[in-house]
Structure formats: structure tokens, C-alpha cells
């Protein structure tokens, strides 16, 4: 059965190629169906693989090239629950995105369908691959298709700029990763992750190892949008088609985090375990800084999709902080959090898509009070905002509680305070936007002119609201369905090779969660009632939209990470 695993990549790719070759003759409607069918097939296969694994790990060798004399010569897919589970989540999101966007994406020729399928294959392949260079090519596949999907609305200048900034910064990031791969290959003579990790664990740590780790991690952190590599993300997600944003925000950034997991636990597991405390500090600082910057920048936004983009950045920061615990419990917490929060964020983007369709605008200031008639969308948006703060008995609550627990054990309660502050501010920002748009409550700052950018449409089709219901139901279900924690715990252990069961969330987490909620609601009410709020001019100035600035900060960031890892690994000393 697992020999069929490569089909999860082959089916979407083959369908994409056939639609491209014959798309002119099949028409948009059939392309919709073909794309949806291929994505469903991919999801179905992933379910089958996941069942078949029974929580264990299997390695399959593509082309039948089994290792010779203990040396991996072919490319391996390492099937373990974390990767397969994440791939399944991505495929499911893509199903919803295709339904959400069906008929609206692109009439003919069906380029969006082709690109979406290739994007799906790239992401799924990335989740399954157990080979460093193969990881990189899947990474590039998903990047190139994402650049194209982001820049799809070529009539909009902002789309081009967003896509350009996205493409150039991510490409430079992937060059850093290639250098890292070359260094690993030079040292170990292996590209297979497990094998390279085995060799590196046995040799002393020197500059080559520290820099290889830093460059590989930076390459993935550019995709994950960790400060200071995050600048492109807001530009790109703000302009991508909303249906695509569902997958981008729900899953692509998280794949950057998965890349970090593969590198840190797989290739460099030996040296990282030896210097766990120092490495933890590097990642926690980067993650929490990102969480804070994301929340603050979300607060400063008027453009709804750009606001959600910064919300995404803020949450990815928390994910990195969880992985930074370098423990199975940290990774397990994040596995739950990623799925639950990914659904919530996807639902938020989907709501904004409906607002855009019905009201023809996307800026909060212009939309004030105009969303009163959108009862369903308003309710869903508020519900999603509340879920994202971690209301008890929802997925984000469970994920966040486990994360808080891992953080307080790993680095101390100050980290928990920062995480709660970030989550509360993000919740407040979302609630404020909801209050302003759907209830007409006042928001600080002037009210913008309302002039529809696109023709407002009178109704919301089922294909747009049904995915929101599914997404929110999933986000809640993750928190209440029994067995989720056990599965996440097991998956995290398989992915990290570290033992240690997930502790039950202590009772005070309900209190912490209610506290977060109270702060979020209080802040939202306060912000709605006050005109003069801090403008964060200095922080916003860094997000200049200029490519040169982004690249300069990318270089500086990579240098800082490199230096930090050098110190953390005690290399050369």
C-alpha cells in the first residue's frame, strides 16, 4: 500500500499537465471538476497512507533504489504521521479553497487550476520527502507556483509588487538553503536526512556545521516569515486571490516551520541536542519577536487582508517558539495548534472574501457599518476571532494551552506572558475590525470614503459560505474530539525521535484562556472608543514595500542568525 504513496504527488501533477495540454478544449467547468477530483484523490490517498502507518514510520525508496552497503543512493519518502498528517491537512484545505473559488478563479484558460494543483503537489511532496535536495526541489516547486498564484491579478499594481517581493526574497532564501545543502553534502557525503544526521552527530561541531545549520534554517524561515524575513508575506498575501490565501495562510508558512523541524531534528539532531539550551534561546527569541511584531503590525492595518497577513505572521512566530522547545511536547503542541489555527485563519480569509464580494471594498475605514446586513459573515468572523484567542473547548485552546505549558517548562513564564499578550492583541484587532465593519462601531482614525472598488454583488453563494462552516467546525472539533492529543503526541515523537509524553494541560490554563479573552475584548472595546491611538510609525516604516530594503534586512538577519548559531553551538571554541 505505501508503495503507492508517490501517487499523492503524481496524481495532482499529472492532472495539472493534462489540464494544461488540453485545457483549451475542456473548458473552465470541467477544469474545476478535474482539479477538485485530483485534490480529493490526493486527500483520499493520504488518508489511506495514514491509516496504513498505524502511527509508525515507513521509508519508501523511489525507483526501488534501496541503500547499498548502508549508503542511501536513491531518494526516500519518509512516511511518518506528522508529515503525512500535515499533507492531509493541506490537501483538505485545497479542496475547500477550490470549492470556495470554483467558477470565480479564472475563466479560461484554467491557469489557476493548473497552478493550484502544482502548488498542492509541491507542498505534499515537501511534507513527505526524506532527502535534503529533494526537499529543496519540492520547496522550489511550491514557491514558483505560489509566486505565480500571488501575481495572478495582473491588473493590480499591488499584486505585481507583492509577487515580486515574494519571489525575490524567497529565491534568495532558497539559495541560502542550497549552500547549506552543499555544505552538508561535502561533510557527510549524504543527502538522505537520516544518514546525514547520523554522520553529523558523530563528528565535532565546527564552523561548517554551524553555518550549514544557520543557512538551512534561514532558508526555511524566509518562507515561514520570521522577523526579519517576514516583510514579503504581508505584501503577497494582501494581493493573492482570496481562495489561494486560504491555503497560503493556512499551510504554506507552516511548511517553513516543518522545514525547520526536519533540519533541526533530522540533519543536526546531534549537535542541537548537545547545546539544546542555547539553541532554544535563539529560536524562542526569534519566534516571540515575530509574534509581537505580527500582532503590532496587524493592529496598525486598515486593509483587511493585509491585517490577516500580519495575524498569520504573529501566529507563525508562536509556532516557531513551540518548535524551539526542542521537545516532542513542543512539536506536538504545535501540530495541534497549526491545524486548529490554520482552519481559523482560513475561515477569516474566506469571510473577508465574502465582504469583498458583497461590499466591493476591503478597507475597514471605508466599510464601517456597511457590513450590518452580512449576518452570517459577521457571526462567522467574530466566532473565528474568538476561537483564535483560544476560547476553551476549541482547537486553538488545546494547542495554545499545550504551547504555554511547553514554554513555561522550557524557558520560563516570561515567554508565556509574551505569547498571551500577542494572542490577546491579535484577538482584539480582529474583534475591533468586526465591531467596526459589521456593527458600525467607531474606530480610531478618520472614516475613509466608500467607493466600491469592485461591483458589489447581492448574494453569497453556497460555495463561499459552506467552507467557512466546515473550517470553523474543524477548528472546534480539534479541541474536543478525544484522541487528537494522543495522535499529535505520537506524531511529534516520531518526527523528533525524542521521547516524552504530552502533559495534560494544567487547570489554570482555563483561567489563562479566559484572561486572554478578557484582555482581547477589553482592548477591542477600548480601541473602538478612542480616536487617538499610537500609530507605530517607526515600526511601519520598516515595512516599506521596497525590495532593496527587504533584501538588505534579509542579509542582516541571516548574518545575525549565523552568528547566533555559531555561539549557541559553541563551534570553534
Amino acid at each position: 500500500m505505501t508503495a503507492l504513496a508517490p501517487l499523492v504527488v503524481a496524481v495532482p501533477l499529472l492532472t495539472a499537465a493534462l489540464i494544461a495540454a488540453l485545457g483549451r478544449f475542456v473548458g473552465g467547468r470541467l477544469a474545476d471538476l478535474l482539479a477538485l477530483g485530483a485534490t480529493l484523490a490526493c486527500a483520499g490517498l493520504l488518508v489511506a497512507v495514514l491509516m496504513r502507518l498505524h502511527g509508525g514510520v515507513e521509508t519508501i525508496w523511489l525507483g526501488g533504489w534501496h541503500p547499498r552497503a548502508g549508503v542511501a543512493i536513491g531518494v526516500a519518502f519518509r512516511l511518518e504521521p506528522l508529515g503525512v498528517g500535515l499533507a492531509l491537512f493541506i490537501a483538505a484545505l485545497m479542496v475547500l479553497a477550490l470549492i470556495y473559488g470554483s467558477g470565480s478563479l479564472d475563466p479560461e484558460p484554467p491557469h489557476v487550476h493548473v497552478l493550484s494543483l502544482v502548488f498542492l503537489a509541491g507542498m505534499v511532496g515537501f511534507c513527505l520527502s526524506g532527502d535534503l535536495f529533494n526537499l529543496f526541489v519540492f520547496f522550489e516547486l511550491m514557491s514558483v507556483s505560489a509566486f505565480a498564484l500571488t501575481g495572478m491579478h495582473v491588473d493590480e499594481g499591488a499584486a505585481l509588487e507583492g509577487s515580486l517581493n515574494f519571489a525575490v526574497t524567497n529565491t534568495i532564501g532558497s539559495f541560502l538553503a542550497v549552500i547549506g545543502i552543499a555544505l552538508v553534502y561535502a561533510r557527510t557525503g549524504a543527502l538522505n536526512i537520516a544518514q546525514a544526521g547520523h554522520v553529523i552527530a558523530q563528528e565535532p561541531v565546527d564552523g561548517l556545521v554551524a553555518v550549514a545549520l544557520a543557512f538551512l534554517v534561514c532558508g526555511f524561515l524566509v518562507k515561514a516569515a520570521i522577523v526579519p524575513f517576514h516583510l514579503w508575506l504581508a505584501d503577497a498575501y494582501a494581493v493573492a486571490p482570496t481562495a489561494i490565501c486560504i491555503v497560503l495562510a493556512g499551510a504554506m508558512s507552516e511548511l517553513g516551520i516543518l522545514g525547520v523541524v526536519r533540519v533541526v531534528f533530522g540533519v543536526f539532531g546531534g549537535p542541537v541536542a548537545q547545546h539544546a539550551d542555547a539553541v532554544r534561546v535563539v529560536f524562542v527569541v526569534a519566534g516571540l519577536l515575530t509574534a509581537v511584531v505580527g500582532a503590532l503590525m496587524a493592529y496598525a492595518q486598515d486593509h483587511l487582508k493585509r491585517m490577516l497577513a500580519f495575524v498569520t505572521i504573529g501566529h507563525v512566530g508562536l509556532f516557531l517558539a513551540g518548535v524551539a522547545m526542542l521537545s516532542a511536547s513542543g512539536v506536538g503542541a504545535i501540530a495541534i495548534y497549526v491545524v486548529a489555527d490554520g482552519c481559523t485563519k482560513a475561515a477569516l480569509f474566506a469571510c473577508v472574501g465574502i465582504v469583498q464580494r458583497r461590499l466591493g471594498h476591503i478597507r475597514v475605514s471605508a466599510l464601517r457599518g456597511r457590513g450590518r446586513g452580512l449576518r452570517f459573515t459577521g457571526t462567522a468572523f467574530v466566532l473565528a476571532a474568538l476561537i483564535s484567542t483560544g476560547v476553551p473547548f476549541t482547537g486553538p485552546f488545546l494547542g495554545k494551552a499545550l504551547l504555554d505549558d511547553a514554554l513555561s517548562h522550557g524557558v520560563g513564564s516570561w515567554a508565556v506572558v509574551v505569547a498571551i499578550a500577542s494572542t490577546a492583541l491579535i484577538g482584539a484587532v480582529l474583534l475591533r475590525a468586526a465591531g467596526c465593519v459589521f456593527l458600525g462601531w467607531r474606530q480610531g482614525g478618520p472614516t475613509g470614503d466608500y467607493e466600491p472598488l469592485t461591483e458589489p454583488r447581492p448574494s453569497t453563494p453556497v460555495r463561499m459560505w459552506a467552507p467557512i462552516v466546515v473550517l470553523l467546525a474543524t477548528a472546534i472539533a480539534v479541541g474536543v474530539v478525544p484522541g487528537v492529543r494522543h495522535a499529535a503526541d505520537n506524531a511529534a515523537q516520531r518526527a523528533t525521535n525524542v521521547s516524552g509524553a504530552l502533559p495534560s494541560p494544567p487547570a489554570h490554563d482555563h483561567l489563562l484562556s479566559l484572561l486572554t479573552l478578557a484582555i482581547a475584548v477589553g482592548l477591542a472595546v477600548f480601541m473602538l472608543g478612542h480616536e487617538r491611538l499610537p500609530k507605530l510609525t517607526a515600526l511601519r516604516a520598516i515595512h516599506s514595500g521596497r525590495l532593496g530594503d527587504y533584501v538588505a534586512l534579509l542579509c542582516a538577519g541571516a548574518a545575525v542568525f549565523g552568528g547566533a548559531f555559531a555561539v549557541a553551538l559553541g563551534a570553534g571554541g
Binding site: F133, E161, G162, L164, I172, A182, Y185, A234, V551
Partner: protein, 114 residues
């Protein structure tokens, strides 16, 4: 000589980045991205090189003759292809940006910021 080979790789990486940051022309940025990428080719091939060894093609040489590492060559080949395509996408974006903004200067097209 080791210094020269690896040094050229590092140099290309940095000088390409310099070009990107200084550039006032998107097409120039795209070209400089390809310079940065060429650094990875030089690095990979330099790593796999063996003094006095032949190319890993056994059409003219006997099996068993020392050859340079074929794996890095395969990786570089893949990398070259990736470059060609990324460059194509970037150029298409640059052309469109010029259409939309009437300029190729990346500093003059920041529509989204803050």
C-alpha cells in the same frame, strides 16, 4: 587554490546581493539574482571535483577510472534549470510591473506599505 575556488563562490554570492540592493532597475535585479545563484553552481562543482579525475562519462574511459563526483553535477544541473525558470517568471513580473507603473525602479512602486 582551495581558497580561490571556494572564494569565487562566496564572492559571487555577495556581489550579486550588492547588485540587487543597489539596483534601480528590476531587470537588473533579475540578472543579479542569477549571479547569486551561479555561486551555488560553483560551490557544488568545486566540492565534487577530484584532481586528475575524468568526467563521469564512461563512453570513452574504462569503468573504474577515477571520476569526479557525479551527484553534485546532477544537483547542479537541476539547479541550472531552476534558475532558468525562476528568471523567466521574474522577468515576466518585471515586464508587467513596467506596464503598470511605467518604471522599472523597484523603489518607485511601493503601493503597499506600513
Amino acid at each position: 587554490m582551495t581558497v580561490l575556488a571556494y572564494g569565487v563562490a562566496a564572492w559571487l554570492f555577495l556581489i550579486g546581493l550588492v547588485g540587487i540592493v543597489r539596483s534601480r532597475n528590476l531587470i537588473g535585479v533579475v540578472i543579479c539574482v542569477s549571479v547569486v545563484q551561479s555561486s551555488t553552481y560553483v560551490l557544488l562543482l568545486a566540492i565534487g571535483y577530484r584532481s586528475g579525475a575524468k568526467a563521469p562519462i564512461f563512453a570513452d574511459i574504462k569503468p573504474g577510472t577515477p571520476v569526479v563526483d557525479p551527484v553534485v553535477q546532477a544537483l547542479t544541473l537541476t539547479d541550472v534549470v531552476v534558475e532558468a525558470t525562476v528568471t523567466a517568471v521574474l522577468l515576466a513580473l518585471a515586464v508587467q510591473a513596467h506596464k503598470r507603473f511605467g518604471t522599472l525602479n523597484p523603489d518607485e512602486m511601493a503601493e503597499l506599505h506600513g
